[in-house]
Symmetry: C2
Subunit: 287 residues, 2 copies
DNA sequence: GTTCCGCATGAATCGATAG
DNA sequence: ACTATCGATTCATGCGGAA
């Protein structure tokens, strides 16, 4: 029996083992980064990181539906002048576990952390690594389409002869175009780069990502009433995104403080009218 | 004896072996991506890629100065529904060769390749992986500072070639709208994400990256009269960037066609008056 | 001189079909 | 079963000629 819309309090691996097989449509999570957030999470060292995560990713593989998706939001630390390798090692090891490394989305941070170092600039991006259990998975691309660029208003007014038929590129790239396909088009598909702001106004809580980040992936990979799992839910952002979008959530959180925080944020969200701005169209919020 | 400002024609590895030790300040290159450009370059398969590149990166390590930097512009192919792993495997193997993996910059492409697939969106980013020989290397951060402003805040390095020419020429005539807005504004350091357009309508000779990409790294990691190496120089874009910035270049190109193309582009560049707008560069102009 | 507008172009990938 | 080839799909940019 799958209990939904709950935040389980306890150790991640232990809690995962209580879930049935193949019950989750989407896993979205941002695990504690190695050696970061030492004050709140117990730090996992960069050397231990892969071995710490692999038993968890094995359980995630078990609970995910075959046509489901796992999005891992993560970024490697710079330590002693070098980017650490635990993320890319983890990708290779998870492939050995049977995961497919389908894609790597980039979260390009609109407003990243300030700071100055002699050997590097501010870090303005994080990985959102996509894993799947099989080649064919559910993806609802239309749900995240974006308004077409301004160029189309001028370009598509009048079509030439070549516009109307398929025009094959001469370079041999195999790419042809048929511009008349674009007539009447208002929305186009996005790319694999998300350009979002961080939410810096979270008082006292190290919320690691903005609600729009899980929102985008939840819209892309699930339908209403599907079940989304976040095994390191922290302050509950993923659950809030689920409530906004009428998806079910399951969260796991080990730390008492964060568990309480997540419950508070979910409670606040449930208290709000669903027609408020939070429920509004994703891309209008990105402007 | 180091011969500079030349494009060596021949096999990459063989040509590298003719160079002396520790003579290069910056290596910037974009090697043929696995199995891409099959019609022009002989394709290297995804499985062979790491073993093909490692002898080359060993030579690059030898010719680079101890305080120099190596920037590798690369992106892994999607094949059979999965991102291939040769890039991340290469990073791990190059660390075994003694390279430090210092940073990973992202080139966020303003106009990426079109297309539509059931399982992925268009790929709008590439890696610019930074390697060094030692923890302390030359970095001139001030040379790439960007003016803070209403719109420059949104996109950090948002300038296309025409933007640049237009702005530069307008400053000359005293009516530069954008540029005069920047004058007197504060300068900030950029981040590790570069937001640039590809140059796709370059009269028949398309380069795989815009000249602003090597330009940015050359300014960041070298001074005037330093030596920049591109062991896969293709159509010569890196050399053109060097000439614009008064740096010396060494290029290597195996294919007759591309070697000729590089020579043509360099010749064209040299034929231009150094005081023309193309010579000027935005950031130094604004200082 | 400036703006407008037509249009070629690009490190792509998947599924189907053929050998 | 495995590989090779081919067709379908797609968006924003910059150049150059026209208004």
């Amino acid at each position: 029996m799958l209990e939904i819309d709950k935040i389980l309090k306890g150790d991640c691996l232990t809690s995962l083992k209580t879930l049935p097989d193949s019950c989750i449509n989407l896993i979205f999570t941002s695990p504690p980064y190695a050696d970061n957030r030492r004050k709140t999470y117990k730090g996992i060292s960069t050397k231990e990181y892969v071995n710490w995560f692999l038993p968890i990713s094995a359980e995630l593989h078990r609970v995910l539906k075959n046509d489901g998706t796992f999005i891992l939001n993560i970024k490697e630390r710079a330590e002693n002048g070098e980017r650490q390798t635990y993320v890319i090692e983890l990708i290779l090891e998870m492939k050995n576990q049977g995961w497919l490394w389908t894609e790597e989305y980039i979260w390009h941070k609109k407003n990243c952390y300030p700071g100055k170092w002699p050997n590097r600039f501010r870090d303005a991006w994080e990985r959102c690594v996509q894993f799947n259990k099989q080649k064919h998975f559910k993806m609802y691309q239309e749900s995240v389409m974006v308004p077409i660029g301004n160029w189309s208003k001028k370009r598509l007014v009048k079509l030439s002869e070549t516009d109307r038929k398929r025009d094959v590129s001469k370079v041999g790239s195999g790419f042809g175009k048929n511009v008349s396909n674009w007539l009447g088009k208002e929305y186009v598909y996005p790319t694999n780069v998300l350009y979002l702001s961080t939410e810096c106004s979270n008082r006292g809580h190290s919320a690691s990502f903005p609600v729009l980040l899980p929102t985008w992936f939840i819209k892309l990979f699930t339908l209403e009433n599907d079940v989304v799992l976040d095994p390191f839910i922290g302050s509950g952002t993923t659950a809030v995104a689920c409530i906004n979008l009428n998806r079910h959530y399951i969260g796991i959180e080990a730390m008492e403080h964060y568990h309480q925080l997540a419950m508070d944020n979910i409670g606040k969200r449930n208290g709000k009218n669903k027609t408020e701005p939070e429920k509004a169209n994703l891309w209008s919020l990105l402007k």
